[in-house]
């Protein structure tokens, strides 16, 4: 594929991700809206959010001014090297920033200086995999700061929660995470969870769960059951949109697992706000977009 063609596909991917919520998320927001009582502040909040979703798409402007950490997954076929991909994606990030699809959001952690173009150490964040397939698959996510700040990692056993090293212990962690977050992560939110792994891998896997569609069912029946239960119990806490009180505290719970060392048992919880921006596309060697991974 010609470099210029690849650049433009990636720019459109970033624009779409920033301005348009995937339809599975929109459906979940609207279901919450219908659930909340007429005249309640919960309903009011979800109504403003729903209006905002429509307006951002119409105006092709960011859903939220915090356009978040840029997280990119690319499955590279033989014809696309990592170097070629990086070059094209970085061009697209700089151009998207210039056009206002992305905010200037990348700050040097030592000097406090904003790079101004979203490039810098670790920005954007890449996850590359080789694929024997013919096509290039790119997925990306924009992960906001407010919701990232309420993510939390537990090490079991946990005495405060009386949580042991089993699924019952995991349940206690997840409900505690929802309680601690209150409305501060711009809820209603989605939990991405990884049981096990080391601290680093745990959080990475937890965030990868956000690529699952909200209405899917976990292939592992034990985790499917736990996801359902946390949804029900988490929403039962009554925290509601923005922490105003109400029935809609969670829009989804997605759980995966990794093997762990005998000595450790981590439960990593990533929190995603309602501005749940993810998308992806499949590109052919000839330079055609064969499909978007999510409707929006």
């Amino acid at each position: 594929m010609d470099a210029k063609v690849l650049q433009n596909h990636l720019l459109e991917l970033i624009r779409r991700t920033s301005a348009e919520l995937p339809t599975d998320v929109v459906r979940a927001v609207q279901a919450g809206l219908r659930r909340e009582k007429q005249g309640s502040s919960a309903r009011y909040a979800l109504q403003v959010i729903d209006d905002n979703i429509i307006m951002a798409k119409d105006k092709s402007q960011p859903l939220c001014q915090d356009t978040g950490t840029i997280i990119c997954y690319a499955d590279l076929p033989a014809w696309c090297s990592e170097g070629k991909f990086r070059k094209a994606y970085e061009w697209a990030v700089v151009e998207a920033t210039r056009r206002g699809y992305l905010r200037q959001n990348s700050v040097d952690s030592i000097t406090g200086k904003n790079s101004g173009d979203n490039l810098g150490p670790g920005s954007p964040q890449y996850h590359f995999h080789q694929t024997p397939k013919k096509a290039l698959t790119v997925r990306m996510m924009l992960k906001g700061g407010g919701c990232e700040n309420v993510g939390i990692q537990y090490s079991l056993p946990d005495t405060r929660l009386a949580a042991g090293r089993d699924l019952e212990g995991v349940r206690k962690c997840l409900l505690d995470a929802v309680l601690q977050a209150q409305g501060k992560g711009c809820g209603p939110g989605i939990l991405g969870v990884c049981i096990g792994g080391d601290r680093g891998a745990g959080y990475v896997a937890a965030k990868e769960e956000f690529f699952r569609e909200l209405d899917d069912t976990n292939e592992d029946p034990r985790l499917a059951k736990l996801e359902k239960r946390i949804m029900k119990e988490g929403n039962g806490l009554g925290i509601g949109p923005m922490g105003f009180g109400g029935e809609t505290t969670l829009l989804g719970v997605k759980i995966t697992h990794r093997n762990r060392l005998p000595a450790s048992y981590f439960v990593s919880v990533a929190y995603m706000c309602w501005a749940f921006r993810r998308n992806g596309c499949v590109l052919t060697e000839g330079g055609k977009l064969s499909r978007w991974l999510y409707d929006s």
Partner: protein, 188 residues
């Protein structure tokens, strides 16, 4: 309900936790740099008496010689907790808009001064930007940079929910207490 300028103590004292308001009038943006500056004794470049301060770092661009607001969602308020109450008292600030709520110190000042905390809808950048109908001025932009400046926003029907009132009520404290109790019951 509508909340229209001037934001007098009487109007503000009438507000209660849970009230959904639409604000019409002038708002002043201010975030970390402005709060620290005022707290350290800096002179306010605008008259803050009976004003509403908005915790917001907006994206504002100049189009055809006019300021246009591209995004204007709230930022997290709790960072201003050390400064907010004393500033409310000193300048008779009647309202603060932000997200996430504020702590017991600010709540106390809300009572003594006659002020409220208004929670905007976090992330709703486009809806909120649209409710800013005019930008009437900007101050301290050279010193602090555009997002940290004091912007004078003329707003119409800007949506927010009263989550801390001048009678000691805090929706944040209430929801936290209730949800903590519910979880304790759930885990038996």
């Amino acid at each position: 309900m509508l909340l229209e300028a001037p934001f007098t103590e009487q109007k503000i004292r009438a507000l209660k936790v849970g009230d959904m308001v639409e604000i019409t009038g002038l708002l002043f943006t201010g975030r970390d740099a402005v709060h620290k500056y005022l707290h350290d004794g800096g002179k306010p470049p605008v008259d803050l008496t009976d004003s509403i301060v908005y915790h917001c770092g907006p994206v504002v661009v100049k189009e055809n010689g006019k300021w246009v607001v591209k995004a204007a969602g709230p930022t997290t308020s709790i960072r201003e907790e050390p400064y907010q109450g004393p500033l409310m008292e000193q300048y008779k600030i009647r309202g603060v808009i932000g997200k996430g709520g504020m702590g017991p110190k600010t709540l106390q000042y809300c009572q003594s001064v006659g002020a409220v905390y208004l929670h905007a809808i976090g992330g709703a950048a486009q809806v909120l930007a649209e409710r800013v109908v005019a930008v009437e001025g900007v101050h301290l932009a050279e010193q602090f940079g555009s997002p940290e400046a004091i912007w004078e926003f003329r707003v119409e029907r800007f949506p927010a929910v009263v989550t801390m009132d001048s009678h000691g009520g805090s929706l944040h404290a209430q929801v936290l207490a209730e949800s903590t109790e519910k979880l304790a019951r759930l885990l038996g």
